[in-house]
């Protein structure tokens, strides 16, 4: 059976579980906070004086021209890179103080979707989607997995190997993999970069759906049409990287 449209999960409650956030003393909890952050390769700075906070349940787009530093910004968010200046807190913990195990544990609270999403090609789709549970040494109920794959329209491809999937199917599989552990934060780097407009809308709908379940979503994209379409569905804010700085974009978007 092929799914031509999105199938909402039958038991949405299973996937909208959100961990209780702890309020930081003297201020509200922020999923991610940048304080005067800079990042550079050698002497050249790619990002400078970046200060921002993402609140729980918020939806943000990050835009800017190619090479502006969108992917670098996201890598800073999930501690793949460490800032050369300033301070980043992820779930109220300073990333520079995180051990390698702490980084791994933090990533279990983050769903990451890349444009060139990578899978373990020797494992079927179902095993790839449950990979975050596998590495956390947790188990997934078969019904939950079927439900999730149905939600992204891939239930019929559970046994397929990743190389057999199309670009759009891979992106939807990446979203399923990103949300299976019910993360607090979803980071998507050009998730619609390799798919047509119709598929872009389907992927956007999935991200909006997740945001309505309470997830914090940050999407890096240079597709302004996608942003305009999203703003009709969700109260999304747009961040723009310009001249190495991250700014809140105006109403022109």
């Amino acid at each position: 059976m092929h799914h031509n449209r999105l199938n909402p999960p039958r038991n949405r409650a299973r996937w909208q579980h959100i961990r209780p956030f702890h309020l930081a003393p003297g201020g509200g909890f922020h999923v991610i906070a940048f304080e005067n952050v800079a990042y550079g390769y050698g002497a050249a700075e790619l990002l400078s004086e970046v200060s921002l906070r993402l609140s729980p349940g918020s939806f943000h787009f990050l835009t800017g021209p190619s090479g502006a530093g969108k992917s670098t910004f996201l890598k800073l968010c999930y501690a793949e890179l460490r800032p050369t200046k300033g301070r980043i807190t992820l779930f109220d913990r300073d990333v520079t103080a995180l051990s390698r195990d702490d980084v791994a544990r933090s990533r279990r609270r983050i769903g990451i979707v890349h444009q060139d999403v990578q899978f373990l090609d020797h494992l079927p789709l179902a095993s790839n989607v449950t990979l975050p549970l596998t590495v956390a040494e947790r188990d997934a109920a078969v019904s939950d997995l079927t439900d999730l794959l149905g939600w992204v329209g891939l239930a019929h491809l559970a046994d397929a190997l990743p190389p057999q999937l199309s670009g759009g199917e891979r992106q939807r599989a990446a979203i399923a993999r990103a949300v299976i552990v019910s993360p607090d934060l979803i980071l998507a780097d050009e998730p619609t970069g390799n798919v047509d407009w119709e598929m872009s809308l389907r992927l956007l709908s999935l991200l909006v759906e997740l945001n309505r379940m309470g997830k914090t979503v940050l999407v890096a994209t240079h597709d302004l049409n996608l942003i305009r379409t999203a703003k009709q569905q969700v109260a999304a804010r747009v961040l723009r990287i310009k001249d190495r700085r991250v700014q809140l974009a105006g109403a022109e978007l």
């Binding site: 990578q118 449950t130 596998t134 590495v135 552990v181």
Partner: protein, 289 residues
Amino acid sequence: MALRHPDRVVPPSGPTAWLTTATAAAMAFLAVFALALALASGRLADRWSEGLASSATIRISAPADQMAAQTQAVLDLLGTTPGIASARALDATEERALLEPWFGPDLPLESLPIPKLIEVVEDGSGYDAEGLRLRLSAEAPGAVLDDHTRWRAPLAVAADRLRLFGIASLVLILGTMGAMITLAANAALATNAQVIRVLRLVGARDAYIARAFVRRFTLRALGGAAVGTLLGMAAVAALPDADAAGGFLTGLGFQGIGWLLPLLLPPLAGLVAFVATRMAAFAKLKELT
């Protein structure tokens, strides 16, 4: 639906798979022979050492009419020599048996000027060989202390060294296996860099990733070493049996409970693989940050 074994996250095939198994098998095969060499050398050293401590021979060459008197004089002298437990003259039958391999069974012993042989058994403290030689020359001029067992001393030392070489070979073989498995593990980690990236992205700790590789390499080494060990044991069993005239080469093998010792090689190989892969994995994962 989650994978039951962590090693499934690593692709199942690759050149390193056969390399590890074949290396472990070859090294275990060689290790069986090194072990056999060490054990055989040990037995040889013990046998020669025991020979050293036990006996000497006195040869009396005298005219026929003086033979009995000199023999009795030597026996009397030995009876009063400290460090000698017992001494007895070999009878004609025993002497004939000694000469039979060279001259055949029909040797007319009585008509030949065969020296008289006295077997001397030492006690634990040993005796003064030089002092005994001087006394013999005085009491029985035709008597010569044939300290024939002394030539075994350097051989016993050599056998001891051979045993050490066997043990050192065993250690070197295991070390080489560890080094080769480390190289194979490094190659596997480098080949699977994308797998590692994906695992890290979804929150895998280094310990989890390392475990996936360690488990796989340990099992491969264990399996390869088991096959190599069995082949080695079969080869050792096929060697000719040791017999009285066989000497060292035919004695190269296992005896009794010694046959159980090679069975320790596969778990030992597994342990070496476990340690080598674990160290390589953590070092490589740190490098891949």
